[in-house]
Symmetry: C2
């Protein structure tokens, strides 16, 4: 099923259960007319939403980059826990997803008021990708790697509802027979996937592309790095040239839904898959208590 709560920070009650099968969004809402809003997707294990703090901080950061009013993070966190709990009680699914959406609201409404909802639904089964790995192609994101600081209006590094390019890139990957995309900058640095972060292992060091390049701070990557730190890995952000990936011992894409998926081919070139470390990272992620 799909449990949905509308969030009204300024009304009473502030959280209202609604039927996700009944339309809830106006045709005049800027979320749908302009992709003008922000979102997060949290993974839920046995009813408990994971990495809530990092997700909410990233939501607040995206909203600030979009000049949206401050988001009531405590209320949204409470809503996320409530929908996760209700959906888990209804279906007992081991893994769920919770999506949080905040739009700029109805165009020209007075006073302006964001539209916000939180919805929980089962996570598709990703066990095959986690076990066998995924085929990835690199695609040019079109921007140089230093665009975020120079041109903040391009919203590089904000998780907005304007995801049409990310979806188009995934269709291009499918046309090339691949499962997913690794975006590169126009000047040859690796960035991120359309909805994932890159992890690159060089010996006992694990790097992810620097967020200063307009790359989203990965929540799943962050949890994985905490685990890897406990295992003795050196972890950090780096500027990584695309050709430097040829020297990596292993590569992964990390995301809330699929967790850690090893890259088994990159642009058709076979990579060695580190099954042991992959399984260990996913077990650690699935064992998070929050």
């Amino acid at each position: 099923m799909t449990v949905c709560l509308r969030v009204y920070p300024d009304r009473d009650p502030q959280l209202v259960a609604v039927d996700a099968d009944i339309p809830q969004v106006s045709v005049l809402d800027l979320g749908v007319t302009r992709g003008d809003g922000v979102f997060e997707v949290l993974t839920v294990v046995d009813g408990r939403p994971q990495a809530v703090g990092p997700h909410l901080r990233r939501l607040a950061n995206s909203a600030a980059m979009m000049d949206l009013p401050p988001v009531d993070l405590e209320l949204i966190g409470q809503a996320a826990r409530r929908v996760a709990d209700a959906e888990y009680r209804a279906g007992q699914a081991h893994e769920l997803l919770v999506k949080v959406v905040v739009t700029r609201g109805i165009e020209d409404a007075a006073p302006p008021s964001c539209t916000c909802w939180v919805v929980a639904f089962p996570n598709p089964d990703h066990s095959r990708e986690r076990r066998e790995g995924i085929d990835v192609v690199t695609l040019d994101r079109g921007f140089p790697h230093d665009i975020a600081a120079r041109a903040p209006w391009l919203l590089a590094g904000a998780k907005t509802l304007s995801y049409a390019v990310n979806k188009a890139a995934l269709r291009e990957a499918a046309r090339r027979g691949a499962d997913d995309v690794l975006f590169t900058s126009s000047d040859g640095y690796v960035l991120e996937g359309p909805s994932s972060s890159l992890l690159a292992r060089f010996g006992t060091r694990m790097w992810t592309p620097a967020t200063a390049q307009g790359v989203l701070r990965g929540t799943t990557q962050g949890s994985a790095f905490e685990y890897l730190g406990r295992r003795g890995f050196a972890t950090g952000e780096a500027l990584l040239r695309a050709e430097a990936l040829e020297q990596a011992d292993a590569l992964w894409l990390a995301s809330s839904s699929r967790l850690i998926a090893p890259i088994r081919t990159l642009d058709g070139r076979a990579l060695s898959v580190d099954h042991g470390l992959t399984d260990a990272m996913n077990e650690a992620l699935l064992a998070r208590t929050e």
Copy 2:
């Protein structure tokens, strides 16, 4: 008021009048969760939608670039005429706008089915901008001018619902004390506004930036060029370097809502405004019979 028709190409009746003040869009619709859809905005004069053919062709082109199923253009055109007529009868507004939205529909719905609606509402009063002109700043769009052919997954030249960057650019313009934006390519060519086309007059020649650069084909610009052709102007598309605009005799931004607005300052530099030609173009546009 706001007259709205839902469009169901595969149902009976195919056009259903709905209340725009009641939510019509699901929280699971890819239009709102991913900005995954296309749109057009048509101007309506005395109840008659303008440039319907060019708008519908551009909608079909955007949909094709997004790998959306073919759009029933005849039905959407019929819907546009119906909402324009009903809204005009209700309010007698001289100028209206009609917005057409087609989304990819509910995620993972079986069978997949686009969500489509057409809505009419009064056009805000733009007489001041048409008469006095607008202050415009150039902003880097981040892409080189030849990106569209090289990286079609970036959807340059598709009019998608993912307009967050266009809105952010307008907020940046407001921060700089300006009314609107002229995007430039990362390699120094002028492109278009967030929702407008550039017209640049050099003597008796009138240029607009080449659509091959991932610039939308302007419907209002197209009508204006037809008029200018009848007046003896040479019109066409061109690759225009930003610095070449300093040699232009006059510049305008053309859009469905504001029609032809003269640029009176560009990045703070005063430009001469050709009031006579501006008024003549707007009169010609407002006199279109379709």
